[in-house]
């Protein structure tokens, strides 16, 4: 083995190393792109602001926009009026927004009232936030949004606010 390695011209050895690096890069890219499993997310059942358990499966078949947020997260609150607008406009087309609040119930109730939230605000806590990690939220930061197509497959994940134009162009392809 050693002698084979010694006999290889240097350029060839370098080329092999280069190709291995490429293979690793491509492999990682493909692995990174493999669709995340949404079954844990869809199996989730969380209390709404009234305390009633809401299973996420009830919205299966719709384009589902799951937004992890909190009142203590200002960028989260800033993007939510657009979600309210989109729910009003796109709800009849089969789009359902669901907020999972990593927060205390009273804060969520107060903010939902101020915003006149027209989609469910489920109270998740930090345990629910952990569910966003395998979906791409490696740092467990907020806001984090997952858009599922009608078959429950991930169409988009987003850490940080969604621009309204971006939100609409993604959803338009799914409805």
């Amino acid at each position: 083995m050693k002698s084979i390695v010694r006999r290889l011209p240097r350029w060839l050895a370098l080329a092999i190393v280069g190709m291995l690096a490429v293979a690793l890069g491509v492999g990682f890219a493909l692995w990174d792109r493999s669709p995340a499993d949404t079954s844990a997310l869809l199996a989730l059942s969380l209390p709404d602001t009234q305390g009633a358990l809401q299973p996420l499966r009830q919205w299966q078949g719709k384009v589902l926009v799951v937004n992890f947020w909190a009142t203590w997260c200002e960028p989260c609150r800033e993007e939510m009026p657009e979600f309210v607008r989109a729910q009003r406009e796109l709800g009849p087309k089969g789009v359902q927004f669901v907020g999972i609040a990593v927060d205390q119930r009273d804060k969520v109730v107060q903010f939902a009232k101020e915003l006149q939230l027209n989609y469910p605000a489920l109270i998740g806590g930090y345990a629910a936030m952990d569910l966003s990690k395998p979906l791409g939220n490696r740092l467990l930061a907020l806001p984090f949004t997952v858009i599922l197509d009608r078959d429950g497959r991930i169409a988009h994940t987003q850490l940080g606010p969604l621009k309204p134009s971006q939100l609409h162009s993604i959803i338009d392809k799914l409805v």
Binding site: R10, W11, L12, L14, A15, G18, M19, A21, V22, L24, G25, V26, F28, A29, D32, R33, A70, T71, W72, C73, E74, P75, C76, R77, E78, V102, F111, E114, Y126, M129, G136, L139, L140, A141, L142, P143, I154, A155, H156, T157, Q158, L159, G160, P161
Partner: protein, 168 residues
């Protein structure tokens, strides 16, 4: 080896393709924020036998909320009096009203009420902050060990402080 070697072009092109593939994963937002312990680096050092200086070094583009910073010591028997946090930058939040934030650096003096000579304590800091790119981190707990001086509890000069910590 000759330079430029024709194969180098292929190698470089191959790596470029791999990098491009990695960067182009569709459907994922391209933000690369720091993990919270890097965005808000926490350290603690001994100032004298009864005082620890706690410090957050906040990366550019990140900020911490003043009212979300809490300290504790382990073991709790070392005792910690309620620290005075420096004034932050006032911001009017539409939901929470008056809030104060820190950027750059926050330095807080922590007074121990019942330290034991030679005791090894851990300063526990909870903080919560956000990044200007529009994300916030949940409350993060960071820990920094500090070794209290052996022997008499007479204050040591501040300049010798860092040598007493586990970090230096």
């Amino acid at each position: 080896m000759r330079w430029p070697d024709p194969h180098w072009g292929r190698i470089v092109a191959g790596i470029a393709v791999a990098v491009a593939l990695g960067a182009a994963s569709p459907g994922t937002a391209q933000v690369n924020p720091l993990p919270p312990d890097k965005a808000f680096r926490f350290t603690a050092r001994l100032l004298d036998a009864r005082t620890v200086e706690a410090r957050f070094r906040i990366a550019d583009g990140y900020y911490l909320y003043r009212d979300k910073i809490h300290f504790a010591v382990e073991p709790a028997t070392a005792g910690l009096s309620v620290p005075k946090l420096p004034d932050g930058t006032v911001k009017e939040d539409p939901f929470f009203g008056h809030v104060e934030t820190y950027r750059g650096e926050v330095v807080v003096k922590l007074a121990l009420t019942d330290p034991q000579p030679g005791q090894r304590i851990v300063v526990v800091a909870e903080s919560q902050g956000c990044a200007d790119i529009g994300i916030c981190y949940p409350p993060t707990v960071q820990r920094a060990p500090v070794a209290l001086p052996e022997g008499s509890m007479t204050p040591v000069p501040a300049s010798q402080g860092p040598k007493q910590t586990w970090f230096n």
